[in-house]
């Protein structure tokens, strides 16, 4: 066993937590354009928009050096992609919700962070690529989240894609590479995960007269079960349950797993030592849309044993096909 590996194994959970870079707070947010373009059209959308305003005010107060965004709406195939364009400007129209209007946006990227994160990801065995192209189609989730959480574009961000084939090991290692980068650059971060809970739409046009509802009772029950964990700050427990949640409450084809919670939990220390706060939970056209925050909260027994341990390095495809 290499000396480095021995050193890693020698560390206690508390020592690992002491050694972590500063993630000030993290948020799970929905990424549907309704909440930005026309929240006033349904009370459920307005409540979520109000929750976004609360979260934006908290972020303003926290004054992070960088906002890290993992969007389940941005798919990649060739490893993970990182936005490295300094000023991203476009006028976005969502492919599903085009009738709600266009979204002109401007996003400032922390290029120094993103480039270093690519190196850190490669060092841990991942395939990572920069994206610095005029007109690159930034996903709706990232645009909606950043427009609502960082409305004046005051804070620089770093957006990373979600690889369609990646499973837990690759996703955990991706988050660790971002933690390496925060530590190396001595930066304080707010972390954003853009994802719905249950993601099944109602298969019908929007009816503005009807109240919103979750697609099915089963989706609703799983959302509430997941939210119970998250409200108690049990993020690593929820992450360990995410395969089950994916099978029960998500459209499961193509994207192999409900990986965003692996990423988020790793960003927050693979622990339950967190304070969870459900700022809002509503249905948006059948999907479960929750806005949740997590704050480090030492002393709640974070060093529990979990079914799956964290992975340090990604070893790549095993060519089993």
């Amino acid at each position: 066993m290499s000396e480095n590996k021995t050193e890693i194994l020698k560390k206690t959970f508390d020592e690992e937590m002491e050694d972590r870079p500063e993630v000030l707070k993290s948020y799970v947010v929905p990424g549907l354009p309704h909440l930005l373009l026309c929240p006033e059209k349904k009370p459920e959308w307005q409540k979520l928009n109000d929750a976004f305003k609360k979260a934006a005010a908290e972020i303003e107060e926290l004054n992070p050096d960088v906002i890290l965004v993992y969007s389940s709406y941005w798919f990649s195939v060739l490893g993970h992609q990182f936005q490295t364009k300094e000023n991203i400007k476009w006028n976005l129209v969502d492919e599903e919700w085009h009738e709600l209007g266009s979204i002109p946006y401007e996003i400032s990227t922390d290029v120094e962070f993103a480039k270093e994160n690519i190196k850190a990801a490669e060092k841990r065995g991942l395939h990572a690529r920069p994206v610095d192209y005029e007109g690159f189609p930034v996903d709706t989730g990232s645009v909606v989240a950043l427009k609502l959480l960082n409305p004046k574009n005051k804070f620089k961000s770093s957006i990373v894609s979600s690889n369609v084939y990646s499973d837990r090991a690759e996703t955990v290692v991706l988050a660790k590479s971002s933690l390496d980068t925060l530590k190396k650059q001595n930066k304080k971060a707010v972390v954003i995960l853009v994802s719905s809970l249950s993601n099944r739409y109602l298969d019908e046009p929007i009816d503005y007269k009807k109240p919103e509802r979750i697609h099915s009772k089963k989706d609703e029950e799983w959302n509430l079960k997941f939210l119970e964990f998250l409200s108690q700050g049990r993020l690593e427990d929820a992450a360990q349950l995410s395969r089950q949640f994916h099978r029960e409450a998500r459209v499961t084809k193509k994207v192999v797993s409900f990986k965003p919670y692996w990423w988020l939990s790793t960003m927050m220390g693979e622990t339950n030592e967190l304070k969870g706060n459900i700022l809002e939970y509503q249905a948006v056209h059948g999907t479960g849309a929750a806005l949740i925050s997590f704050t480090p909260n030492k002393g709640k027994g974070g060093g529990l044993e979990f079914d799956e341990d964290g992975t340090e390095v990604y070893k790549g495809n095993r060519n089993v096909l």
């Binding site: 941005w74 060739l78 395939h127 690159f136």
Partner: protein
Amino acid sequence: MGQIVAGLLAPHPPHLVYAENPEQNEPTAECGWEELRWSYERLRESLADIDYDTLVIHSPHWRTQIGTHFLAVDHFKSLSVDPIFPHLFRYNYDLKVDVDLAKKMEAAAKDAGLSTKLMTNPDFRVDYGTIVAGHMIRPEWDKPIVTMSSNGAARYYSMDVMQEQMTTLGKATARAIEESDKKVVLVASHSLSHRHYVIEPNPPEDMSKEHIDHHGQYLWDMKMIELMKAGKTQELFDLIPDFTEATVAETEAGGLSWMLQAMGMKDIKAKVHGYGTVIGTGNAVVEWRV
């Protein structure tokens, strides 16, 4: 009375446009994927003797979950950047839509009980599945197009539900075309087997690295192509769910199913202009004369 004059299986890897080096695309290549590019050359030669008004494209890269959507703005001009391969495809497009036909198709699909929507936002960016197939079939862009989105029924429910929906959509498409005065070429814009490599060679056009992702995919691709060549349309249609399951194929989006149904499920022997792989996926350029 309008008619469908041909149906095409037209794969849309952006690599093909990249390797063609057209003036609309910003990146440039040395060469690459010649089997497929020459297949498209043969297709263009073959189409040269057909008189048609409009290309009607079903694209897996305009993915909608709530029904099928139709482009309904008469002119689009913008930059299309591929989200997976932005280093290969940054294409300045300028195209016209046959809005009249699009509206007829949308109305026919709605009448048949499908959920539909017209896309009327002028800021909308046309998807690269439409643009790559459109460029490779007709680089002059002198024919208007109709693009319809692909519905996520296969993922939401099952391949069987998708097959049923595409049967309804295909028949509705045929009715709308018949009731128009247009001669139409149908395009199912997609590859066959679709497992990608996750690492790209440098340069991307290094053909010494290009091959099918695995032999199982190749066997399935050949089976489907055999059925196309033999004109065994019902068997081909019935095999689409198994084929899709086994090869992660883009038939999941419904393009081929829709097109076969729109052409009336006739036992027409298809002309296979060629087959090749792109970053591990299987792609065939195929033409059915109706």
